[in-house]
Every structure is written in C-alpha cells, then in structure tokens.
C-alpha cells in the first residue's frame, strides 16, 4: 500500500494526462461530471456521485459507428475507427465501478460490442466513500462503499492524503511509474483509513436486507404497486440516463446530400415511443407498463439473464427523480428491508 499527499494531486494529474486522456469529476456551471483534465481544471473529488455516471465515458450518449455514401443506386459503407481505449478514469466511486461491470455483461457478451470493448481497456482508479449519502444503498447489492474489486487502483481518502493500492496488473504498472509521487504510509495512516472503510460499510449494512428480493420480484408483474407508482411519473428520461447500469439504445442516421453516418444513442424505456411499432401496436401502451419494465428489469429480468442485479444502489434516481419515484420503495414492496433513519 502507498499514499499520495493531496497537495501533490495536481502534479499527479498533469503527469497522468501526459500518458493518456484523464477523466475526472469536474465542476462546470455548478454541475459535476467526468470531463477530460486540462490545466486549471476544477476537480471535485470530494463530492460523492457525479451527475452522469462514468457510463457516459465507456458508453457515450451517442457515437457514430459507420459512414455511408449513396450515389444513384450505389451504396458504400465505411466503418468508423474504433475508439481509443487507453484513457484513465480517476475518482470513480465503487458503485459506479460496479455499474460498469453490469454494462460489461451486456456489451461483452456474444456478439461482443467492439467499440465498448475498446473503451473498456481503460484504467479505472476508484475512490472509496467514507460517508455514503442517505440515498446511497450500494451495500444492498453486496457492494462495499469502501472498496471496488473491479477497479485497477483503489484510493481511500485520509483527509490530507489518499491511500493508494493497485488491484490489477494494469494498476500495478501504472503505480510503478509513479514512484516519485507516491510515498509509504505510516501504520497509523493505514489504520485510520481501514477504520473509515469499516464504518462506511457498517453504516449501510445496518440499513439493508435484500433476502429473497430477486425471487419475489419475479412474481411482481401483477403487483398492485404498479397501479399507483406510475401515476405521478412524468415520463422523462432522468432515471434511465443518470443510471450507471441502464444501457438501452437506439440507432439513428443522419445525412446531408449523398453522405451520412449511422450512430447509436441512449434511449429510455420511459419514453412512450420506445416499444411503439410501425404498425401502431405498443406492448407497453401506458406509463404503468414502462415504469414496471424499468424496475422489473433491474430486480428480476436482469438477474435472470445475467445472474446479478441491474442496480448498484448509487441513488442517482432517488435523488434526481422530479417526483421522487424511488426504487427503494419497490425493493421494500418485494420484501427487502430498509430503514432510512
């Protein structure tokens, strides 16, 4: 285990940014999101979750994957160059790291999405949460606020320093290149951070129990909760777009004259045209079916397909839904226990 003094972080970022594009949480007009580091960047490590999850980097909201030219009857298709994968994500919270591993299940399963695969070659440096928010519930899904097993490097906040541990070979290699910046922590420092990690975990664990939720959610398709929960839904896409695991997408074309491109972009199961067919039929005709789909997908369908929940408890939808439609209410309905005090 090593550490870096917080005062030396700008030096670290400058160094890292020279090696590869470096994305970290930055504030612009009051909004904190992952953005490429540059001189004078307003880095905000201490805020918990960014507005958009780092999903927006590994699976951008829209990306072109083919170009076309159409002349008379002739059509030419050219693939877009694969995206660059050797970037660094710095300061990703453990729930968001877990969110990326959920996306992996979708995009890395056969047939592999090669653009996603390329972007997944990135290095993830995760920052542990000392004090999870009241709306956080990652431990409900077996995650730990103080540790992200799928990260390459794990950091813990010790006030004046960040404790540093590499978890993968990729992380180890990067760590080795930073000997000038990293120091050896004192046993007391290591211990203090260990203590924080345990506190963070216990704070959440006391709140949650998810025994049997997966099983019970399976039988919730006709549950009465859907008849009331959807009524206040505005049908906007906030919950889906801010979700670190929502991965639904649409495909669209844009063109000018003979040339054009085809892109893939995020889409939302909350939108009324999401499942609307050209014939006018819609298997999810009202907001009730759409709201049900989102929660059933997270708590029942995704586990059935991939063996893990499609929610990581980051709490973004809980915080940002304009009418407070709250997945924890659904979890409770499915037999999960939660105490918010």
């Amino acid at each position: 285990m090593q550490e870096i003094q917080k005062a030396r972080l700008p030096q670290l970022w400058e160094y890292l940014a020279k090696k590869a594009p470096l994305y970290l949480p930055q504030q612009e007009d009051g909004v904190i999101n992952f953005a490429p580091w540059q001189e004078g960047a307003r880095v905000k490590l201490e805020s918990l979750n960014t507005v958009l999850p780092p999903k927006s980097i590994v699976f951008p909201q829209w990306e072109t994957y083919l170009h076309f030219t159409q002349k008379a009857r002739e059509l030419k298709l050219t693939p877009t160059k694969e995206p660059e994968g050797s970037y660094i994500l710095f300061g990703v919270r453990p729930c968001d790291v877990a969110g990326i591993t959920v996306l992996d299940r979708v995009f890395l399963q056969d047939p592999v999405d090669v653009f996603y695969e390329s972007r997944r070659r990135c290095t993830i440096i995760s920052l542990a949460c000392n004090e999870p928010d009241i709306s956080c519930f990652c431990s409900a899904f077996g995650l730990e606020p103080g540790f992200a097993p799928a990260a390459d490097i794990m950091l813990w906040d010790g006030d004046k320093f960040l404790l540093w541990q590499s978890l993968t070979e990729k992380g180890e290699t990067l760590t080795h290149s930073l000997t000038d910046l990293l120091e050896v922590p004192t046993p007391a420092e290591t211990e203090s951070v260990q203590c924080l990690r345990e506190t963070a975990a216990t704070v959440q664990e006391q709140k949650w129990g998810l025994d049997g939720v997966k099983e019970r959610a399976k039988d919730m398709f006709n549950a009465p909760i859907w008849d009331s929960l959807y009524r206040r839904c505005l049908g906007c896409g906030i919950c889906t777009y801010l979700c670190p695991t929502c991965h639904c997408f649409d495909i669209g074309d844009f063109s000018r004259g003979e040339r054009g491109e085809r892109f893939r972009c995020w889409d939302s199961c909350m939108y009324k045209d999401f499942t609307l067919m050209a014939s006018g039929e819609n298997p999810r005709p009202t907001q009730k079916e759409r709201v049900r789909q989102r929660f059933m997908h997270k708590l029942s369908y995704f586990p059935a397909q991939h063996g893990l929940y499609g929610c990581v408890g980051c709490g973004r939808c809980v915080r940002k839904c304009p009418v407070n439609i709250d997945i924890t209410q659904v979890i409770k309905e499915a037999g999960g226990s939660i105490s918010c005090a």
Binding site: Y65, L66, F68, Q70, R73, E74, L75, K76, L77, P79, K81, E82, V106, F107, Q109, P111, V112, D113, V114, F115, E117, F221, H247, C248, F249, D250, I251, G252, D253, F254, S255, G260, R262, R264, D267, C269, F274, T275, L276, M277, A278, S279, E281, P283, R284, E289, Q293, M296, H297, S300, Y301, A304, Q305
Partner: protein, 275 residues
C-alpha cells in the same frame, strides 16, 4: 479491425415483385452475388436504407432455395415506405441472421399445421418451402391462410399452384369479407381452423399473423386438443440491435431478438403478458 456487431454489409435488391396493394417481395443478394449469409427458417435480418433507418424483417425464402434472400414487406412506416419506393438494382444494407428460427429438428416426422394471416405468411413460407424440399422428413402438411380480401393474399402462385401440387399437402384459404369473384371460404382464420377441425395427434401447429389473430388461434387450437408445447408462433416487437443489447424487445427475461422470435405456447405462458 474487429467487426462491430451492428455493422451491416451492402446488398443488392435484385428483384421486386408486387404481392398486394401494400406488400412487395424483395430479392436481396450479396454485392458479389449469392446469399449475404446462411440462415434457418424463422430467422430475421435487419434491412436498412441509409439516411432513413433500419428495420427487422423475417426472411421469407427457404434456406438453399435460391442465391438470394427474399423479404415480403408491408408498407407501414418510414423504412418500409422507402423500400417500397426503390427500384431493382438499388443497393441497401443488411445484417443478420437474427433469432432462433423454427425448431426444424423437433418437427421431423410430424404432421404440420401452418396458420397464417396477412403478412404473417412471410416467416411461415420459409419453413413451408424448407419442409417441401425435405418432403420425406415430414407427415401431412396443412396450410390455412387468410387475409382481409382476396386481393390481400400474398404468394398466390405458391398458394394456388406449388403447394397444393406437393404430395400430402393441402392449402385452405379464407378471406375476412366476401366479394364478387371469390368463391372460397369467407370468415376469420381462427374460426376456419376450428371448422376444419385438425387433429392434434402427432401434429405441430405453427402460426403467425396479427396479434389478435394469434390470440384466437391459440384458444381455438387448445379447444381442438393441441397442447401448448405443440403450438409455435413467431412474435413481433420493435427491435433496434437484433443482438440482445438495445433492451427494447424483452418480454420479461427473454429477448425476442435472441431467444425468439419463435416461441412455443408453453414458453409464452411462462412469460408476462406483455406482447
């Protein structure tokens, strides 16, 4: 460079034939000739007209039947409108094949009952012609097909000539509303199936058509004694990727594009009623 799963290939629309007022059949070949890819009956492909968009269609030709793929397409939306406007020789984009297809191995040695309505004949036709090529592998073949009117019946040459001429193969046609010049059966497909009263003994039923037709066909077949496992249908959902990632064609935990589009009724009964 590795191939993006959504990346299509260029294909040529070699022939276009008009079936009905709003259905045309397109023969699509690879740029260098031959089928763009191999497939099994019941599988689908994503066709696209660049600048307009992509849409999923079932392949209506049978495997190894021709050196092109056939698609019977009804004019219903942006992509289909555009396809109906193109001329022979035009190039389009295609990717596939997608979906599970009909369980052809399971059908061997059985009597087959095909029940189609309107454009729903398209996927069934692929399997019908496949079975007729391998005629010895299957028992009796009954084909019940209906449309709104006589003018809306597609694949008329096969309905009237090729299929009835095959050994132990019978075709029953019906139209929703009678009109002058039509001396065949008048009535909806589900009722006609019950009137004809097929035996479930060693039979498999395969149906495709509008959702409302499928619903009543299923009920009728159950009344005739068919077990849910003996009835196969193909479902239609809005799809974008075709590979189980874009997240919109799921019914419960199943993706129609990957786990379907062919399901037997027993499987469907286990799924939430959202299709």
């Amino acid at each position: 460079m590795l191939k993006h799963p959504l990346f299509p290939q260029v294909a040529v629309v070699e022939r276009i034939s008009r079936e009905t007022a709003d259905i045309k059949t397109f023969s699509v070949a690879a740029l260098k000739g031959g089928v763009p890819f191999n497939f099994m009956p019941g599988q689908c492909a994503m066709l696209s007209v660049p600048a307009v968009g992509e849409a999923l269609f079932s392949i209506t030709s049978a495997p190894a039947q021709a050196d092109f793929l056939e698609f019977s397409i009804k004019k219903t939306g942006a992509v289909t409108d555009c396809l109906h406007g193109i001329e022979e020789g035009c190039q389009i984009a295609i990717r596939g094949p997608y979906g599970n297809g009909f369980p052809v191995a399971q059908l061997k040695g059985r009597d087959l009952l095909f029940i189609g309505g309107g454009i729903g004949l398209a996927p069934l036709r692929s399997l019908i012609n496949y079975c007729l090529v391998h005629r010895g592998d299957y028992g009796n073949i009954h084909i019940v097909y209906g449309a709104r009117s006589a003018a809306d019946l597609m694949q008329r040459k096969e309905l009237y000539e090729n299929w009835p001429a095959s050994p132990a193969t019978s075709v029953y046609l019906t139209v929703d509303t009678g009109q002058e010049g039509w001396d065949g059966h008048v009535g909806f497909v589900p009722q006609y199936v019950e009137e004809l009263g097929f035996s479930p003994q060693n039979s498999i039923a395969l149906t495709c058509g509008p959702p409302i037709m499928i619903k009543y066909v299923l009920a009728g077949l159950e009344r005739l004694g068919f077990q849910p496992e003996q009835i196969h249908t193909t479902l239609e959902m809005r799809m974008k990727c075709g590979v189980g990632k874009c997240g919109r064609c799921n019914i419960g935990g199943k993706y129609v594009c990957r786990n379907g589009p062919v399901f037997n009724f027993a499987e469907l009964k286990k799924l939430p009623a959202e299709y």
